[in-house]
Amino acid sequence: MTAQGLNGKGCSAGADDSPSLHGLPRSLFRKRLDVVILFILSSASLIALGLIFFFILREAFPFFRRVPLVELFSRTWLPTLEPPRFGALPMILGSATVTAGALIVSVPIGLAAAAFIAEVAPGITKDVFKSAIEILASIPSVVYGFFGLAVLAPFLQSTLSLPTGRTALTGAVILAVMALPTIASLAEDALTAVPASYREASLAVGATRWQTIWRVTVPAASSGLLGAVILGMGRAMGETMAVLMVTGNSPQLTASLLKPVRTLTAGIALEMAETPFGSLHYHALFSLGALLLLITLGMNWSAEWFRGRLVRRHRR
């Protein structure tokens, strides 16, 4: 994350590719074998990305050829019935509900924690909080899922006296905890990227530290903060194991947070195991994957754009 900030600094040695540096003339290929090999290997991530797009779309294509696109946005998901119904609206809304619920909790707490770490906390406290966030981010999603299933769901079931503890609410709470480190650490990066001169100017004209944070630093960092929130949203939307284990997975259309829901990710994970390779149902699940990929990448790209805007705006 900080690598971006170093961009453009001290690039004299690496970027220089002039042949005069290397003295005696040799065959171009032998001389620059390192360049050729590194160039090829460095495209690994682009190739990986290409494979993802190609194969998800290739496996989704047979579905779109046999079933009209609007069917995907209808209300009934009964893929094994004859004739099958492929209405993914309950899952799309399920993902949206759980993600929105998670953000309601994690955005205020994440941003406030980021402001505390970046602007208020003194030296060692700051390190403790930053490490805690890093550790929270590193806990595997299946552990969060198990915690939700074994601890949180029974707790919510008995406190709210629900028929089942596996509800959209349980998923939202677990996702909130999972999105929290993303939002907090990226928001902290954004606040830190605001030049110190802004704060100094504000303090010099007599503002308190809080007024400086609220009226100067936060507005100056706003696009980076927005980027952090959107990335947290993308993370929550794409999360699979935790929601699969705690939301109950009922593909019913519901607006209630206290009922079981099924998300896009959980739908794919749950049904792929029971589907014959190459069936229409199999291709339908890949089309859900394509939809999920589209949504999360849209979020990620816009988040990167907002985060980049912060850096561009304050650079001199």
């Binding site: 290397h22 590194l38 460095s42 998800i56 505390f116 929290l180 308190t208 809080w210």
Partner: protein
């Protein structure tokens, strides 16, 4: 009340709110760790770590899942590490600031944002289907390798960039070629940072479930994998099936907590190791 006093009080209240948000993060972490350790430590014993599951996975240990996770993570890092380090060297040493670098960087960031279940779909369609590897250690390791690629690239690139330009200039001034400079000066100086990135990659590969669900993981195996083309049990998948799909799930609460604790301890010790090592590195940096 004077204006000045009012502003002071507002600030105190605001800082308390910010501080409590920070504390709630610590508290959440503490709650999760408490429940997992308190309940999980009851099941964990030497036998639990070294025995096969017995009686329809209602008794016994998790040895094959530990071995399986080890195989998957090792495979993933062996495939991913050379690719990631080469990418990082290219990005930071050879082509800084060019258009191609920007393209690769967008690619890396995009790859990092792809949901893990989509990696699982790719693995199923490409490695299992097209390459005909079947549901196997190899297919799972390849899928995980792609998933951890961005993590190692970013960490390695950051480590390489942290090496001062004067190091490179010194080497080039002595007549070293660019590759000699990278190999003998820049890489050794950046190696600790690169290795912390690799450890983070391993810890991610150990904990991921969705990418191996359709590509490598088995519900139950009576023996250890004998070749890269065997299915394996894996710790995170074992947690998942024990808690949801095993028909006897309500009888095995202790085993479930135990398995989760082992997984959590493994991942957290890798990450804590990185945090401690990194702080140590910063303190005794020679430049």
């Amino acid at each position: 009340m004077t204006e000045r006093r009012r502003r002071r009080i507002t600030q105190a209240i605001a800082f308390c709110l910010l501080g409590s948000a920070g504390l709630s993060v610590l508290l959440t972490l503490a709650i999760i760790l408490y429940f997992m350790t308190a309940q999980g430590s009851r099941a964990v014993s030497w036998e639990f770590l070294t025995e096969f599951p017995r009686k329809g996975m209602t008794e016994g240990g998790i040895y094959p899942a530990i071995v399986g996770s080890f195989c998957l993570a090792t495979g993933a890092i062996v495939i991913s590490f050379p690719l990631a380090v080469s990418s990082a060297i290219w990005l930071s040493e050879y082509a800084r600031g060019s258009l191609w670098v920007r393209v690769i960087r967008v690619g890396v960031n995009t790859l990092a944002g792809v949901p893990s279940i989509v990696f699982g779909l790719l693995g199923l369609a490409f490695f299992v289907g097209v390459l005909k590897l079947g549901v196997s250690v190899l297919a799972g390791a390849l899928t995980l390798a792609l998933l951890i690629l961005p993590i190692i690239i970013r960490a390695s690139e950051e480590a390489l960039r942290a090496v001062p330009t004067s190091f490179r200039e010194g080497a080039l001034a002595l007549g070293a070629t660019q590759w000699q400079t990278v190999r003998t000066i820049v890489l050794p100086a950046a190696l600790p940072g690169i290795l912390t990135g690799a450890i983070l990659g391993v810890s991610r590969a150990v904990g991921e479930t969705a990418p191996i669900m359709f590509t490598a993981a088995a519900f139950y195996m009576a023996r250890l994998p004998r070749s890269p083309f065997d299915k394996v049990m894996a710790l995170p998948y074992h947690v998942f099936v024990m808690a949801t799909e095993n028909p006897n799930y309500w009888r095995t609460k202790d085993l479930q907590f135990g398995t989760t604790l082992v997984l959590l301890a493994l991942v957290l010790s890798l990450n804590l190791g990185v945090v401690v090592w990194r702080t140590g590195l910063r303190r005794r940096k020679r430049w």
